[in-house]
């Protein structure tokens, strides 16, 4: 059974239709990359999947793990195993990273009917994940994302993903704002998370990320529609020819 099934999805922001009929099927173990020019609807797709309320779904359906995702509140989607790495991670002053992440993990565990994890068991787990992302221990007690550099914020997102172990991870422009060293660290973290049970959707503008995280499928999103799908070679082709190539091709196909 597919993990995520998007059918003819339409969505609007402030009354403007951004997604104009998306179809996408993601199976467990697969890594999909959604590429496209600015304003094509990539981030909107990510936000809709994460159930952000200011994004209105106007048509179509999305099932996640066999259930209607569009019926779910953001926290329930998260508890079902959907994780989104934010393009712009948010600062929460006064709440430490460790406290926040334990609260998140325990919310998920509670939802699944598991016992909550106490701080004694949680801290070693968190430390291990932070080491993987080469994050200093002082970030444990720093308020969530406050005073973090852009790269630190992005790494912190991947630490969270590693702790929460989602079934589906949607990475929204995780590569933006990263220098090459940070990108490699993030990619290492993401690759370590790849497994036959877990799927990922990488939303990105640039091919660069895909040098380090090689996807199984690449989809090109233009003007709210997926206009082309293929294997990793499609990303390289895009890099050479630019997005205008797909747009021209799309225009040609319409004729």
């Amino acid at each position: 059974m597919s993990l995520l099934e998007i059918k003819n999805l339409h969505a609007s922001v402030n009354g403007n239709e951004i997604l104009k009929g998306i179809d996408l099927t993601v199976n467990p173990g697969e890594v999909h990359s959604i590429m496209g020019p600015n304003g094509s609807g990539k981030s909107t797709l990510a936000q809709v999947l994460a159930r952000r309320e200011s994004y209105q779904v106007t048509g179509g359906s999305v099932s996640f793990a066999g259930k209607d995702l569009l019926e779910r509140k953001p926290e329930d989607a998260a508890c079902e195993g959907l994780f989104m790495a934010f393009q712009y991670p948010v600062e929460i002053p006064g709440i430490s990273n460790a406290y926040f992440l334990r609260a998140a993990l325990n919310a998920l565990r509670k939802y699944r009917g598991e016992d909550e994890m106490d701080a004694m068991d949680f801290l070693p787990l968190l430390r291990e994940k932070m080491r993987m992302l080469e994050m200093d221990e002082r970030f444990l007690n720093r308020p969530v994302n406050e005073g973090f550099s852009g790269g630190e914020k992005k790494r912190n997102e991947i630490v969270q993903m590693a702790v929460l172990e989602p079934r589906l991870a949607v990475l929204d422009e995780t590569d933006s704002g990263l220098d090459i060293d940070a990108l490699k660290i993030v990619a290492k973290g993401v690759n370590a998370m790849r497994s036959k049970d877990r799927a990922m959707v990488l939303v990105t503008h640039y091919q660069r990320l895909l040098d380090y995280i090689v996807p199984d499928f690449v989809h090109v999103l233009v003007n709210g529609r997926i206009v082309k799908s293929g294997g990793p070679e499609l990303a390289l082709e895009l890099e050479q020819k630019g997005y205008s190539w797909t747009e021209r091709e799309l225009a040609g196909a319409r004729r």
Binding site: S54, P74, E75, I92, A107
Partner: protein, 485 residues
């Protein structure tokens, strides 16, 4: 964005959980205030002559102010005029006999405490916390007295202090807040019914946190508490005050006075969690909390620290202050004030630097939700002789929804050029993006809001004793339920 506002509104719409009335036989005076009433109060309490005289001169001062309609009008709050003649100024549960132990306390009263979550039976076991429970105006039970007595600490009701330690009362009463200080302090001085008294002798570190739970029970009874805490040279005491009141339709006046005196090298830490009835969603009812709290850091190296979490009352008018008289003395004020629905709060502090190298810290966190109006009003005054004085003030406001207000009135008066002053202020709105971020990690909307608020208040909560910090966090969540929608 509008959905966030709706969510915010849902979250704050939680009924007051502590609204119930205990039926206990009361002994109360008919409404009205005149010299006869003052005499009656003093007589009922069997007070010595000096107390009656003090009450009478306070009453005369208050009456002269009332005649001039000098009730303070400067605070940023609005309320209907108070009819002082419609209030009963004394109400006490009828005592059947002297109480020797908790078992003898009226079970209904004990039950009330149980509903409040402070079962005295358990309190007894909870080593480290002594409770002087004030039920309406008369103390009904005091625990841990013996252990305190061993250390030489006096912790008793004000009435007992007047009987057993008149010399201390005489010496310190009104020495920080004189009877002419302000309209409400004068009223309190005239009619105060009871309260707490603490004296920690030289060099003694009080072996436990002292705690008093106040409760306004009788209808139409203004409650006028008076607290006096003295830390002698080198002494230390931490005092906790928590309050809850049942639902009433009519506004109830509460005008308390708290005086703290710290001698050389002494420290007094005073923590308050206040969740009196704030009125209903339409702004009907609720407590008027007009309180004068002031500490005098009299001796060198002395320290007075105020921490308050104010979530209740329809109107709060309160400025716990420090007079930094001794050289090197320290004053602190940490405050969280929350206003929801139609609550109004005008609160802050005064730091008066008199001695050399005196230091003060002010951290104020105001949260406004619903139609709540939250005002910070603070004064930092550096007098001429206060060489090397320092102040740090941080004043942050958080808005939830778009119908509430945050106001800040900082006054700074410096008469010594060596003073160093820092002032930081911020105003922010609780962000939909913050809530969504936490939700995306599996945390429910209500918990997300409560987490964000707790983060905002962290600098204050960390000043509270542990049990109080937990209670304060719960209170904030309860007070805000329904406000984030």
């Amino acid at each position: 964005m509008s959905s966030t506002v709706n969510q915010i509104q849902d979250l704050t719409q939680q009924e007051y959980k502590w609204g119930f009335v205990t039926s206990v036989d009361e002994d109360r005076l008919p409404p009205g205030l005149n010299e006869d009433v003052i005499r009656a109060i003093a007589a009922k309490k069997g007070e010595p002559e000096f107390m009656l005289e003090w009450r009478l001169k306070s009453y005369r001062y208050w009456a002269s102010q009332e005649q001039k309609q000098a009730e303070p009008k400067w605070a940023n709050v609005k309320f209907a005029p108070i009819d002082y003649q419609a209030i009963s100024y004394y109400s006490a549960p009828k005592k059947k006999k002297e109480l020797k132990s908790l078992e003898e306390v009226d079970p209904e009263i004990l039950d009330t405490y149980t509903k409040l979550g402070i079962p005295l039976h358990e309190q007894k076991l909870l080593a480290g916390v002594a409770v002087d429970a004030v039920f309406d105006s008369v103390s009904v039970a005091t625990t841990f007295k013996e252990k305190l007595a061993e250390a030489g600490v006096i912790f008793c009701s004000f009435s007992e202090a007047v009987k057993n330690h008149p010399e201390l009362v005489k010496k310190y009463l009104g020495s920080v807040v004189p009877h002419t200080d302000n309209f409400f302090a004068a009223l309190n001085s005239a009619v105060f019914s009871d309260g707490s008294f603490v004296y920690v002798p030289k060099g003694v570190r009080c072996p436990m946190e002292l705690s008093t739970y106040f409760r306004i029970n009788a209808q139409n009874t203004g409650q006028f508490e008076r607290t006096l805490i003295i830390a002698d040279e080198g002494a230390y005491v931490s005092y906790l005050e928590g309050c809850t009141a049942p639902i009433r339709d009519e506004n109830q006046l509460h005008a308390a006075v708290v005086e703290l005196i710290a001698h050389d090298n002494a420290t007094i830490k005073y923590s308050t969690v206040q969740n009196w009835y704030p009125g209903d969603k339409e702004g009907k009812g609720g407590i008027y909390n007009f309180v004068t709290k002031r500490g005098k850091a009299l001796g060198k190296n002395s320290k007075i620290s105020w921490t308050q979490v104010e979530t209740g009352s329809a109107i709060t008018w309160k400025y716990p202050s420090c007079i930094l008289q001794g050289d090197n003395s320290v004053g602190e004020f940490y405050s969280v004030a929350l206003t929801n629905n139609y609550q109004q709060a005008d609160t802050g502090t005064k730091m008066i630097h008199i001695g050399k190298n005196t230091k003060s810290t002010v951290v104020s966190k105001g949260i406004s939700a619903g139609h709540g109006q939250n005002t910070y009003r603070g004064m930092v005054k550096i007098l001429k002789g206060a060489q090397g004085a320092r102040n740090y003030t941080q004043c942050d406001s958080l808005l939830i929804g778009d119908k509430c207000g945050a106001h800040t009135f900082p006054y700074i008066e410096v008469k010594n050029a060596s003073a160093r002053m820092e002032h930081e202020a911020s105003t922010s709105k609780i962000g939909e993006d913050q809530i969504f971020y936490l939700q995306q990690r599996g945390i429910s909307k209500e918990e997300a809001v409560s987490m964000i608020i707790n983060g905002f208040c962290k600098a204050v909560f960390k000043e509270l004793p542990m049990e109080f910090a937990v209670e304060a966090q719960k209170l904030l969540s309860i007070s805000l339920e329904g406000s984030v929608g």
